[in-house]
Point group: C2
Chain length 230, copies 2
């Protein structure tokens, strides 16, 4: 009998925002896999570290940190390694920051393994709700609509999403910050916008967009546009 | 010194999808409040029941179950009760299904108390990521955009949101199911759509929209339209 593949959302960064289920599944799985940079520690592993006991088989999926499409060969290799454990009857827990299927890196393994092995996805607290909680400002209520837009999109696509909905979350701000500020200024939305970086982590930063100077934004940052109080 | 108001997301239904932080804050707060129907048990309280120890002061916020705007007087009264505990120095944990600021009932208390008392929002696993995990089908990846649309909106608003984004979650399906099916059929999106009711609960139901007959949908149901695999 083959093992089970678990995609585990470990939440936005604060280890206390892991779910009880994530902790249990992780504590039971003999094999743990996680994305990691070329060199250095995996953020997902750091969040979950307290629950990874000694003697586990660990698979670091080394994903080069650069813009552009996900490197298919990295996930092909990782899927092969994970498949061997599953075929041998060992459950494999794959850690994923935030939620596994909401812009999560687990999707690339799910594509390769989800049809071949029994799979369970353990949802996690997403960056969307974590950033909203950090601002302490309601995002959507009642009949309000929400758009979630990656900052990598061209202005026209961002503008269409902003126009079609009440509130908007722009993800993965990174180097796109100056362009996003200019776009939101042109649309008269700067005063409704809040910038949030690394929500729930030690280096969390929350600044009204209007007060944010020219700076480099990290990849894990978001602009929340809550029109309801604009 | 006044107490602290906590808005606690208890997640979508499975008690194991509560976060470690929700459990800790709840176990420490002397006062626990939660929305409840006119008669009968509170869903939010049922999810968190194992962590509410004897001797806590409990405040059931009895919200009449009917369509239309939230009854302001119910939340005014609840805010008054909660404010008295906070003013007396007692922390109050307000339970909220899903996430507190993502269509959460906590928003109505946050409106009334968030500026008067120190407030912390503990984000939770939202119905959005829980339903997605239940379907086992990725919702958004890389540059894909997402719209979140309440089913109560008229067709034109739903159609605008569906057209402007790659994937869509239509919330609070309830009695709108036949209209939504007709709309998605007209847009050629039925084969990309999955119906999910009561995700992660004992009565969870997941059905491709194309296979769903005429039936009553519960309020806590969702249609996920994942265009990427349509």
């Amino acid at each position: 009998m083959s093992g089970r593949l678990y995609g585990i959302g470990v939440g936005p960064g604060d280890p206390e925002l892991m779910t009880l289920k994530a902790v249990r599944v992780l504590s039971e799985a003999p094999v743990v896999a996680y994305p990691a940079p070329d060199k250095g520690e995996s953020s997902a592993r750091m969040i979950a570290a307290a629950h990874i006991t000694a003697g586990r088989i660990e698979i670091a999926i080394r994903v080069p940190m650069r813009p552009g499409p996900e490197p298919a060969s990295v996930y092909d290799d990782a899927a092969d390694k994970i498949a061997r454990h599953l075929a041998a009857g060992r459950d494999v827990a794959v850690l994923c920051e935030g939620d596994p299927l909401f812009y999560g890196s687990f999707i690339y393994l799910h594509d390769r393994l989800g049809d071949r092995f029994p799979t369970t996805v353990v949802p996690g607290v997403s960056s969307l709700t974590a950033c909203t909680a950090a601002t302490g400002r309601p995002l959507v209520r009642r009949d309000a609509t929400l758009a979630v837009l990656p900052a990598t999109l061209p202005d026209a696509a961002l503008e269409a999403g902003l126009a079609a909905t009440d509130s908007t979350a722009i993800l993965k701000v990174g180097r796109h910050l100056p362009r996003l500020k200019a776009l939101l200024a042109r649309l008269g939305l700067v005063d409704a916008a809040t910038y949030v970086a690394h929500a729930t982590r030690a280096d969390e930063r929350i600044v009204p967009l209007a007060e944010l100077g020219a700076e480099e934004a990290p990849y894990f940052s978001m602009i929340l546009v809550a029109k309801e109080r604009a």
